[in-house]
């Protein structure tokens, strides 16, 4: 066990965990931020996507030791009231079915539109291709990303 400092959703947090603990489990088990989901544990499905210094990363395969002292943003920190353009677009397009993968989809989409204000269909496919939606809401996700980019 070792102590790590990190900034999660604007708050400085100190955690005492094994150094190889993936950020995902620090968020979920230690900090009770369960919005970030476990899907595969090997960075293949994108359900665990969070931002490190604004970039989308897979928290299931990122050990805590690699993110100490960095700024982590999770779905809970994207906005206080659901006003982030991606969250708004997700609600507007009624994207989710089961909803489990959507936090990861939203975090990937938020990173995309902060880099690319006017993503094309292929930009969206490229950016989102690492996020699996087992319910098959891909068409709504694409539409929502476009709306979010427009409103951002």
């Amino acid at each position: 066990m070792a102590q790590y400092n990190l900034n999660v959703n604007g708050q400085n947090r100190q955690v005492d965990v094994d150094s190889d603990t993936p950020l995902l489990w620090v968020l979920r088990d230690t900090l009770s931020l369960v919005g970030t989901k476990y899907g595969c544990g090997i960075a293949q499905c994108g359900a665990c996507t969070v931002h490190i210094d604004g970039k989308a990363i897979r928290s299931c395969s990122t050990p805590i030791s690699a993110v100490a002292n960095q700024k982590v943003t999770t779905i809970e920190g994207l906005s206080e009231d659901g006003s982030h353009p991606v969250q708004q677009a997700w609600i507007e397009h009624d994207v989710p079915q089961c909803g489990y993968c959507q936090a990861g989809q939203i975090m990937t989409a938020a990173a995309l539109i902060s880099d690319n204000k006017n993503p094309s269909d292929s930009d969206i496919s490229d950016a989102m291709n690492g996020n699996i939606c087992r319910c098959g809401t891909y068409l709504r996700i694409k539409a929502a990303v476009k709306t979010a980019a427009k409103n951002a």
Partner: protein
């Protein structure tokens, strides 16, 4: 048919629970006005918390301020019943949807019936009961208002939660009469709305959990956290047909955070099994500890010796056995009309083709999990389960706790697709908690989830069609085989449309656990049947839609046999609708089209799929889909289901397979098991509903089965290759 019980026991109507005074209830709602661009259009609307609630029946409570809470009785797996079932109650209650808060019910067989997610039946079975539930409460409110206003109830009308007396100009709100309404006698019969007066049913309504999902709120079983809760994981045999021989847990036990390592058995001698207890590995090793990561690491350090107790099956064995089965006739036919042998002998042309599909895993994005806290005489369970009532029976039997002391709360589920019909993971959680003596959350790793499945069986089917010289279908033969059951529905189309018809079934037993996977059997047979009919139509020199419609004409005008389990007019109706809406018959250069139609789960679906070639590879450009599910309760939710079923069906037909080598799945995570991704989804899907006012039927499954054939038929046009073996990308390298 009333499947949702109405409370006839008067005593349950007199509960009036006071709310914790003041405060606000958070409902999700849509302000929908964008006058202030800085203000979000979609917000968590705060509804005022009433001073008191009146519970009119198990389904609903009305606050003295008019706020209404409606329970969703059934498990929510992404099929959107948490929105659509309460909509039906709210419609007949006659309140504004914006004033409704939806709560998920736990297992409560006193108040609800058929609390099950399966077979696309929630709306179909719930329809009458949900309407009557809303209408009964409305009746009681109106009667209470009549007493208060001192007017005959027959002169009262309702709208949006207000009761009006037109003659006197008086009005009173539901909230003002709710507490008095609980004393009104429950009517035996109630009048239901004329569907033309519906204001909620038929209106696009957003997912009631949409806001919370976008906010990352804890909604799922995996999100359950309790004081003192430990994490448990299981280790199951690496191969089907194996069990535990010995365990060396010394290294794992010594690891940080590990509390205990035990063996559990969810099928102890004398326990009673339910149909839902499908499970190849009743004996498991359970590792219990403080945190998920610590338990995951200890699980890897665990050393278990396994012993073989039954055959080590491989996919090549399944292929050999199923091929052997479809090559010979079973002892008896599932259905026989006319004289198929002589009709085939007299046919001008005979076409025979065999179709194959592998095992599939469900791969819900949320792996199996469950929370359990089992004490001496009580069990509290919370988690994702499609069959809570059966889980309760099993836990009661296995843990020796009376059913009335077993409570089960259903969480929102991160997908089901049939996997969560089989709740052994819930029983495992209960047994682990009982043995450890602490509340635990059982968590499967993705690998556990994929390699301990209740898989879609591997299937094979051979079709044979005989055409006369004019290209008419005069004989039809289907022979199917599967690991655990044949995929053939003997009484489905084209049964009833062909004079000489033979359907035959074979089944191969297997120690690999199988079960319902979204649209069981149909998920394979529709693709085979509709691909075959396309090939037969081509051999007959006919347009594939006209060829199918001619068969429907026969089934409508002079059906063969009496057991046909489809309505040929509704079936033909969706095909005609998709023909019209897709502009079938007008060729667009570079666009290759395939058609398919299928009936399952009481709903009818026809699809036209367009493929284009991009850089030498086929790409699904567009899908037109016509659907007859009767009344559409929530069009927006219904479209989402149909789109999802289409994407899911394309993905599995094209890319997905679970194969076995000596009893061990070759795939254990998403780097090996390919699921469809964003770039592979169709560019657009256009959905058209038949408007016929018939009582609604389900939509969780029906759009999936036919799409594989629409895809195969379009890919044939694009590439010249007929596809017989799923996943298609293993047969045709062009498909990537």
């Amino acid at each position: 048919m009333t499947n949702n019980k109405l409370q006839s026991n008067r005593r349950t109507f007199i509960k009036v629970s006071a709310a914790a005074g003041g405060g606000m209830i958070l409902g999700f709602n849509i302000l929908g006005c964008k006058t202030d661009p800085k203000r979000p259009a979609f917000v968590a609307q705060q509804l005022a918390n009433p001073d008191s609630w009146s519970e009119l029946n198990g389904f609903l409570r009305i606050g003295n301020n008019g706020v209404v809470t409606i329970m969703n009785p059934n498990p929510e797996i992404g099929q959107n019943v948490k929105t659509s079932m309460p909509m039906i109650v709210a419609e007949e209650l006659d309140v504004d949807w914006d004033n409704v808060i939806v709560e998920q019910a736990g297992l409560d067989t006193e108040n609800f019936s058929r609390q099950l997610a399966g077979g696309s039946q929630s709306i179909r079975h719930g329809w009458d009961g949900l309407r009557k539930t809303g209408a009964t409460a409305r009746h009681m409110l109106v009667e209470a208002a009549a007493l208060k206003l001192e007017v005959p109830s027959s002169e009262l009308t309702t709208k949006s939660g207000i009761i009006y007396h037109e003659a006197s100009g008086k009005s009173i709100s539901y909230g003002d009469v709710a507490s008095a309404a609980v004393d009104i006698e429950v009517p035996e019969e109630v009048a239901l709305k004329d569907p033309k007066d519906f204001t909620i049913i038929g209106k696009d309504t957003r997912n009631v959990d949409g806001f919370n999902i976008a906010m990352g709120k804890p909604l799922f079983g995996l999100d359950v956290q309790r004081e003192g809760m430990l994490i448990a994981m299981i280790e199951h045999p690496p191969s089907f047909g194996m069990k535990i021989a010995s365990i060396d847990d010394s290294a794992a036990r010594a690891m940080p955070g590990i509390k205990d390592i035990i063996t559990v058995n969810v099928e102890p001698e004398g326990s009673e099994k339910q149909w839902s207890d499908v499970n190849a590995f009743p004996e498991l090793v359970a590792i219990v500890g403080n945190s998920t990561w610590q338990v995951m690491k200890a699980k890897k350090a665990l050393k278990v010796e396994w012993e073989r107790i039954s055959d080590a099956e491989s996919s090549s064995d399944h292929e050999t056995t199923l091929s052997d089965l479809v090559s010979k006739a079973p002892n008896e036919a599932a259905r026989k009309d006319g004289n198929p042998d002589s009709a085939f002998a007299s046919a001008a042309q005979v076409i025979e083709k065999t179709y194959n599909a592998p095992f599939l895993a469900h791969n819900t994005m949320e792996p199996m999990n469950f929370f359990a806290n089992v004490t001496a005489d009580r069990a509290e369970l919370e988690g994702p389960i499609q069959t809570p009532e059966f889980l309760r029976m099993t836990i009661s039997s296995v843990c020796g706790i009376p059913q009335e002391n077993v409570s089960i709360m259903m969480t929102r589920m991160g997908g089901g697709f049939g996997r969560r019909l089989y709740g052994h993971f819930g029983t495992e959680a209960a047994v682990i908690s009982q043995q450890i003596g602490a509340p635990i959350k059982l968590v499967y790793t993705r690998e556990d989830d994929m390699t301990q499945g209740t898989y879609r069986p591997a299937y094979k089917v051979t079709y044979k069609a005989g055409l006369d010289a004019a290209g008419n279908l005069i004989a039809f033969h289907v022979r199917g085989a599967g690991t655990h059951g044949s995929p053939v529905f003997a009484n489905r189309y084209p049964a009833g449309a062909v004079d000489n018809y033979l359907a035959e079934n074979h089944s191969k037993e297997s120690n690999i656990s199988t079960g319902a996977w979204r649209a069981p059997r149909s998920n394979f047979i529709a693709t085979a049947e509709q691909s075959f009919l396309d090939e037969v139509a081509e051999a007959a020199g006919k347009d594939p839609i006209d060829f199918r419609l001619a068969l429907f004409d026969r089934a409508i005008n002079k059906p063969v046999g009496e057991k046909n389990d489809y309505d040929a007019e509704r079936y033909a109706g969706v095909l005609k609708l998709v023909k019209e809406k897709s502009g079938w018959g007008t060729d667009t250069p570079g666009v290759h089209r395939g058609v398919s139609a299928y009936y399952c789960h009481n709903s009818y679906v026809a699809q036209v799929l367009d493929v284009v070639m991009e850089d030498g590879s086929p790409r699904v450009k567009k899908v037109h889909c016509a659907v007859d599910c009767g009344i559409v309760v929530n069009p927006e939710g219904a479209k989402n289901q149909i789109e999802g079923g289409i994407v899911d069906g394309i993905g599995h037909a094209m890319y997905s397979a679970l194969t076995f080598n000596n009893g061990t799945p070759d795939q254990n995570n998403f780097h090996q098991y390919r699921l469809i991704r964003h770039a592979e989804a169709p560019e657009s899907i256009e959905v058209h509903f038949v408007d016929n006012g018939i009582a609604p039927t389900g939509l969780g499954e029906p759009s999936l089965p036919p799409i594989g054939a629409a895809l195969a038929n379009a890919l044939y046009k694009a590439t010249g290759t007929r596809l017989y073996t799923q996943p298609f990308n293993t047969q045709e390298p062009l498909l990537g």
